[in-house]
């Protein structure tokens, strides 16, 4: 079993983990109000990815990434209607084809899709904001599995840095607001953060290249989240990642362009007689 696990295609690990989390959480705590909503989100994401990939690149893309986007939407979005699930997934996948720079998409797809429907449809959409049960053990298992998988895919430093940053900033928030530190720490014990920590901040497609840069960016995400929380944004982590992630990428790209320009200028100067 462990050999199978170690040999498994890394692309399949996150989808397997998130599916296990979903199934376990639903069987234990009934987190899904209706299967069809989650199914719609997944089918929409995969369908859009296959269609857009085929038309744009002329090939069938691996559905693992779209599956994660779809299932994240299906778990995170809370609405009595079907359409938010469809559009959150569609917007997530479309963003990969529209909001691009230098061949890279800028936003984590589900982060963008979820933030968009939340921002544009506040009367009918909210996010998962509940516990999955009130027992420590399911939470501990998910955290453990999550950390093992982000370690396998080389993103442990990102998740771990975020957790430490959140705790530090939560204590600072407690000192500023006068609220009990238990209350400011409480969100990270909920499932919304498990999805955020293991599947959103770790997205390699929208991360800066150097490891130290990834650490700095994730600290910045936690910092901006703190600022948003001090201003009572309930879904602060999503908005923080929405703001910081692409900004970091743009800075990295601009810096790369500047270095390239400097290099070519230097070359030019050296080439001059």
């Amino acid at each position: 079993m462990s050999r199978f696990f170690l040999k498994l295609d890394n692309r399949l690990l996150p989808p397997i983990l998130i599916t296990c989390i979903l199934i376990a959480a639903h069987l234990s705590f009934g987190i899904l109000e209706a299967y069809e909503r989650t199914a719609l989100a997944i089918v929409t994401a995969i369908g859009a990815e296959l269609a857009l990939g085929r038309i744009t690149y002329g090939k069938w893309l691996h559905p693992a990434s779209a599956y994660i986007s779809g299932i994240s939407v299906g778990i995170l979005v809370r609405s009595p209607f079907l359409w938010p699930y469809f559009f959150a997934s569609l917007i997530s996948i479309l963003s990969k084809y529209v909001l691009r720079l230098n061949g890279r998409h800028l936003w984590n797809p589900s982060n963008l899709g979820v933030s968009a429907v939340l921002f544009l449809a506040p009367e009918t959409v909210s996010l998962l904001s509940i516990q999955w049960g009130n027992n420590l053990w399911p939470m501990a298992v998910i955290w453990l599995l999550g950390f093992v998988i982000v370690w396998r895919v080389g993103r442990l430093h990102v998740s771990a840095t975020y957790v430490v940053s959140f705790v530090v900033f939560a204590l600072i928030r407690s000192a500023i607001t006068g609220n009990p530190w238990q209350a400011t720490l409480a969100p990270i014990t909920g499932p919304m953060y498990q999805l955020f920590i293991f599947f959103m901040v770790t997205d390699p497609k929208v991360a800066v290249r150097p490891r130290w840069g990834q650490v700095v960016v994730v600290i910045a995400v936690a910092f901006v989240e703190m600022l948003l929380r001090l201003n009572e944004f309930i879904y602060a982590p999503f908005y923080a990642l929405f703001l910081v992630g692409p900004s970091a990428l743009l800075i990295e790209m601009a810096h790369g362009a500047w270095l390239r320009a400097q290099g070519s200028r230097l070359k030019q100067r050296l080439a001059e007689p």
Binding site: F29, G30, L32, E33, L52, I55, T56, Y57, G58, R78, S79, P80, F81, W83, P84, F87, L90, I91, L94, S95, Y97, V98, R100, L101, N102, G103, A116, V117, L118, L120, A121, P122, E123, T124, V125, S126, S129, I130, Q131, G133, N134, N135, L136, M139, T177, G178, N179, P180, Q182, A183, T184, L185, A186, P187, T189, G190, M192, R229, E232, I234
Partner: protein, 605 residues
């Protein structure tokens, strides 16, 4: 600026990018449009002539009727001061009953501050009411050390023809025997009621159909908690969605001699969920009442009655108890006029924060031998978004022949344009060691929590759609509504609306119905069945339609409608037949009764 990984020509890639960008923008636009249409389509436009358009108009008339009651909330242990508005957020209730048998519906309303007085408003029949609670012995029931009122119910437990009163409290539950409509005598000890229950829900029912009314009583907080003298601050729900550390349930079987025996364990009704509302009706078609519980911080529960001997919890199997929400209301209505009672349960919806949406559980058609199953059609019907919803009641407000709904809402209206929602949402997702301890909860500091909300009045078009008309018809208050009850206070064939508000005034909305809309009503009295006829099922057939209602021993949230059953008939000039199924199982029919009148029907073969 924008580049695509080139697989074919750059021109084609640019064209595709343009196309996807347009689809992307259109998707964002669709989200905005759908949000607007979904939230907005439930409301009709502003209307100056509500009677002409919707068939009725409501006018708040409490003071004109002589009713000047303002609810006072409780104040608990000082260690809860920082969150007092949210933990002391219930207690306003109303129960409708004709305690003196004069043919006019009276009102009992509860107060919840220590030392405050409850009111019994006697309907004088001349369009005014008078508080007779002090002389009847029903006023001074909130003395320090005995707890404070949370709700009350009328029911003739001794079958003497006069409605008795059961009072449930955060404290000592009380039973008052009605002595011929002249006074009330406290009989709690003789009845065998427990010393202390922190209850928010109760109903009268005759679960074993023996002709004597039984009681169901449900704790909210655990019964070992004295909210005025806390031993610990670890009293809060252990989870926002999965809490099972609430109060226990009680079933008091009426022995028929003025005493009750507690039978919940023997019947299989054992739960520690935080129940806020209970209602009973024959949902499974056995002739016995089933029990539905709307639970805060968790899933709902449905107990099916096994011939009065046992109950089986079937919430998961039937669908009503699969998703945990914040249940606050339980009421039944035959909204399609097809003889099936659906269940309406309210929850929390706060834009941009938490959209649990209310549930409207409609029974699926059953094949022979198939089990009971429900589907949630609240969104399809348009009755899902009601704010922080509390009590709701079905009733034909415009006498058009279909059941409409009145819903009250609003949790804590404190500082305007302030909100405690951020802090509430932050702690609510926390682990049980955090959430269960009141000392970990952020202080409210005078902020509102889903306050100043507009009520919902949904009128039923009869073919599967409800339209929200509250502002049009005059239901414009923004108090923190808790209980709502419907009753024909003037015996003129129109359902008036009585609303009990937390720390707010008791409102009475007098209803003016469009002329030319007919009605029929039935006041039942059991003989072999319990005398209040609670559980009797009346099916009215007219113009190819049939509507079922059951006499209720309490429904909604902390409320009791009039026991009288009211049916709107629209423009129909006659009723074909009325079929009454008594709790005893006897069937009685009335052929072609005259319309626009109240029938007083006594159980007979």
């Amino acid at each position: 600026m924008v580049s695509m990984t080139s697989m074919t020509g750059a021109g084609r890639q640019r064209a595709l990018w343009t196309l996807w960008t347009l689809v992307f923008i259109a998707s964002l636009g669709a989200v905005v449009a759908l949000n607007r249409s979904t939230a907005g389509s439930r409301r009709s436009g502003a209307d100056t002539d509500a009677v002409a358009r919707h068939g009725f108009r409501l006018e708040e008339s409490a003071r004109r009727l002589g009713i000047d009651f303002v609810h006072q909330g409780p104040t608990f242990d000082a260690r809860l001061d920082h969150i007092m508005p949210q933990v002391a957020a219930m207690g306003a209730s109303v129960a409708v009953g004709d305690f003196d048998r004069d043919g006019w519906e009276d009102l009992y309303v509860t107060n919840s501050a220590e030392g405050s007085l409850n009111r019994l408003y006697r309907n004088k029949g001349d369009g005014t009411f008078a508080d007779v609670a002090p002389t009847m012995g029903l006023a001074d029931v909130n003395r320090a050390g005995t707890g404070v009122s949370m709700g009350a119910l009328w029911g003739d437990f001794d079958n003497d023809g006069y409605e008795d009163l059961f009072l449930y409290k955060y404290g000592r539950p009380e039973l008052f025997r009605n002595d011929g409509g002249r006074t009330f005598v406290r009989v709690s000890e003789r009845a065998g009621l427990p010393q202390w229950v922190n209850a928010n829900a109760a109903i009268w029912w005759d679960y074993d159909a023996d002709g004597w009314l039984d009681l169901f009583l449900s704790g909210y907080w655990a019964e070992d908690i004295d909210l005025w003298h806390l031993k610990t601050t670890r009293i809060m729900p252990e989870s926002f969605e999965y809490a099972e550390n609430g109060g226990r349930k009680y079933v008091f079987r009426n022995r028929g001699d003025g005493t009750f025996e507690e039978t919940s364990a023997a019947l299989g009704i054992q739960s520690r969920r935080w129940t806020l509302a209970a209602a009973a009706a024959d949902l499974s078609g056995t002739g016995y009442p089933d029990l539905f519980l709307a639970n805060d911080y968790g899933i709902a529960q449905l107990y099916t009655n096994q011939s009065g001997k046992k109950f089986v919890e079937v919430g998961t199997e039937t669908g009503v108890g699969r998703t945990p929400k914040s249940g606050m209301n339980a009421s039944f209505g035959d909204i399609f006029n097809d003889g099936r009672l659906s269940i309406y349960k309210t929850n929390i919806s706060e834009p941009g924060v938490l959209v649990q949406a209310n549930d409207h559980w409609v029974p699926k058609p059953r094949a022979a031998g198939a089990g009971l199953e429900f589907e949630n059609l609240a969104s399809t019907l348009g009755v899902d978004l009601g704010g922080w919803s509390w009590g709701a009641q079905f009733g034909d407000l415009n006498n058009d022949g279909t059941l409409d709904m009145y819903l009250v809402n609003g949790y804590v209206s404190a500082g305007e344009r302030t909100s405690y929602w951020y802090d509430f949402a932050e702690i609510a997702v926390g682990h049980n060691r955090i959430i269960a301890d009141a000392s970990n909860w952020p202080p409210m500091r005078g902020r509102s929590l889903s306050g100043y909300q507009h009520k919902r009045v949904w009128i039923n078009d009869g073919v599967g759609r409800f339209t929200e008309v509250a502002q049009d018809v005059g239901a414009s208050d923004t108090h923190d509504g808790r209980a709502v009850a419907l009753a024909d206070l003037s015996n003129r064939g129109a359902l008036d609306v009585i609303v009990a508000n937390q720390r707010g005034p008791l409102l009475v909305y007098k209803n003016t119905v469009s002329p030319g809309r007919h009605w029929i009503a039935f006041d039942l009295e059991g003989t072999a069945s319990n005398r209040s006829a609670i559980g009797a099922r009346v099916e009215v057939h007219w113009s190819g339609q049939r509507q079922v209602q059951e006499v209720s021993g309490g429904s909604g949230f902390s409320a009791q409608n009039q026991r009288r059953l009211h049916y709107g008939l629209g423009s129909a000039a006659e009723v074909d037949v009325v079929i009454i199924r008594w709790p005893s199982g006897w069937i009685q029919t009335i052929e072609h009764p005259r319309i626009d009148r109240l029938y007083r029907v006594k159980e007979s073969r």
